[in-house]
Amino acid sequence: MASQAETLDRIEKPNYLTVTHGLKSWLTTQDHKRIGLMYLGSVSAAFLIGGLMALLVRLELIAPGETIMTSTTYNQIFTLHGIIMIFLFIIPSIPAALGNFLMPIMVGAKDVAFPRLNLASYYLWVAGAVFTLAAIISGGVDTGWTFYTPQSIRQSGSILWMGFGIFILGFSSIFTGLNFLVTMHKLRAPGIGWFDMPLFCWAIYGTALIQILATPVLAITLLLLASEKIFQVGVFNPALGGDPVLFQHFFWFYSHPAVYIMILPGMGIISETITAFSRKHIFGYRFVAFSSLAIAVLGFLVWGHHMFVSAESEFSTMIFSFLTFFVAIPSAIKIFNWTATMYKGSIDLSTPMLYTLSFLFLFSIGGLTGVFLGALSVDVHVHDTYFVVAHFHYVMMGGTVMAFLAGLFYWWPKMFGRMYNESVARVGAVLVFLGFNVTFLTQFVLGSKGMPRRYYDYLEQFQPLNQMSTFGSWILGLGLILSAWCLLRAVRHGKRVGANPWGATGIEWRTPSPPPLENFEGEPEIPYGPYDYHVMYGGAAKGDHT
């Protein structure tokens, strides 16, 4: 793709990777692209650790009774799996890594609004990770990632380490969201209005809103939990007159919106990849943009659906159930608009598109089973069973992680200026898709048959399905390792590519790969909108444009 002139150009002009050298230049960088890469490395390490924990949990469940670890270790390991995956990996994954790298470029800015704060957020993440993992050494926590009281108050001191770690991680998340919101408000280049932004930015915008408005509630919840443990304040402790259900309210007031922190950026990626690999303008730009905001707002009104069986009044369960169904509307708007985008498009099944299609299938299943769980009568039956585990993993792993992989494979050539081996990447994508379904589809069945979640032991009759799920986890692990190897190998050995290897319309493809330090050589040129494939290809692209 790259012409000779372009290649020469790239060798002569330094890009963000080559402009300075040495470890110190990375550790003290204020460049959003380098910080994005540092996040990417760190959250991937967290994903690896959390993934190994998941494999251990699945291995233990291959047979009833004790297989490879004691019940206490099992409880600690599934807790760590949840906490690492949620707080260390999935919340920062797309916004802090890909969002950091791409959002400023997409709005035509030279950097985020507060570059030093951006670096500070990264180090807060590191500090938070250290404290969270310190809980392993100091005795472990076995409450699950939800820290329900009074179980969490009865833990050893390690709960304080972990709580403090997550408190710090929360600030990292708040500052990232704040930084992004200000960047999009104040630093858009002339010529990029709100509705000229790529939909990825709209998704990051919705995410940032939730990060800013929900995370402080988690902070105060953790402070109260710590003060329960240290000063016996008693707010959550029934023995002192407190109310343990209040903890659940506080916790889910953050943690329900937080699942939209996890999924919204993934939805943003899908809007980019689905247009690029269908060669079509996005169908219904404004609907997709505003549905991100609608999800962010509705996310604050449905926390009670986690507590249908936690002594909520019948009236409030009905209200929360009703509101929960509303979330299906903006989610469905997105799904329908994406499929409509593909209609009559010129579809290219490259690796990012394979992950994108996986997202569409898996997120649809995850989203629809969410409607089952929002229905009161069904929820009472499947509450705290593997059905919930399967639903959650279909949304988070089948949704967010698939989108994250789609984004990585899509923007990798932009980040490093080199292309990975497409065949290996496709094999990886297929393995991930198959492995994922074998692992988690079985869990829907297990849950509907009544196998409770989080249990160490189970009845004989559940063994075949559990074994299948464990086999699936190995295929999934293999697929992920192959994909990671494929990407890492490309950093050094991949074929060099020019500015726009996919022939996409986004503004990020009009700057060299890798981009220069301040993102553009001179003022960014904006000859057409982010999805104007019909303009870029002079009407040659198939289909209509909405």
């Binding site: 200000v182 630093l187 408005l213 003060s227 304040v233 209040l246």
Partner: protein, 216 residues
Amino acid sequence: MTEHSPEFKHHVGHHFTDAEQEFNANKFGFWLFLATEVLMFGGLFVAYAVFSNLYPEMWAAASGHLDRIMGGSNTVVLIVSSLTMALAVRASQTDNRKATIVFLVCTLALAATFMVIKYFEYSAKFEHGLLPGQWYTPHGPDTPAQGNLFFGLYFMTTGLHGIHVLAGMVAISWLLRKAVKGQFSSRWYTPVEIVGLYWHLVDLVWIYLFPLYYLV
């Protein structure tokens, strides 16, 4: 302008187009931060609402043990400090270096006064055993049996607020140092403006906190 050190000139960040864009970004960012503060304190106010509804009699009885005179004078102290802070912002905007310094010193002194009064208030509570959890060993007339919850929340909320006052004092001292060096002018007064916003929020939280805990 003669009052300003001539060599100091604020440099606009490389990624901003001009000083105005930078100022707007900083101010907007800080408003967002204040939103997070409101939500954090919001959690404590929710807990207050829940328990004051659950135990209305205990709540009223325990509330009677707070010192309204000390609380009331602290309210006055904070409101006046908000005024001096606002005057400091105004002074820095109008290139009045001397007035900026004077008003910042006043604000700092008032903040310290608040903390001193708080110290005496807390000591009195400690003496009477009005403490959270197992340390709740009240002695004295009309102390409710389950006041531990009230005092637990009281110490959490006023304590978190106190930490914010201390952080504000650090920030004001930092401003003072910059003001003495003559770094603020009508062209660049962003830090004064921002710390001012923060200080008003600290004041505002207390204005809700005082009637809820001391007067109900």
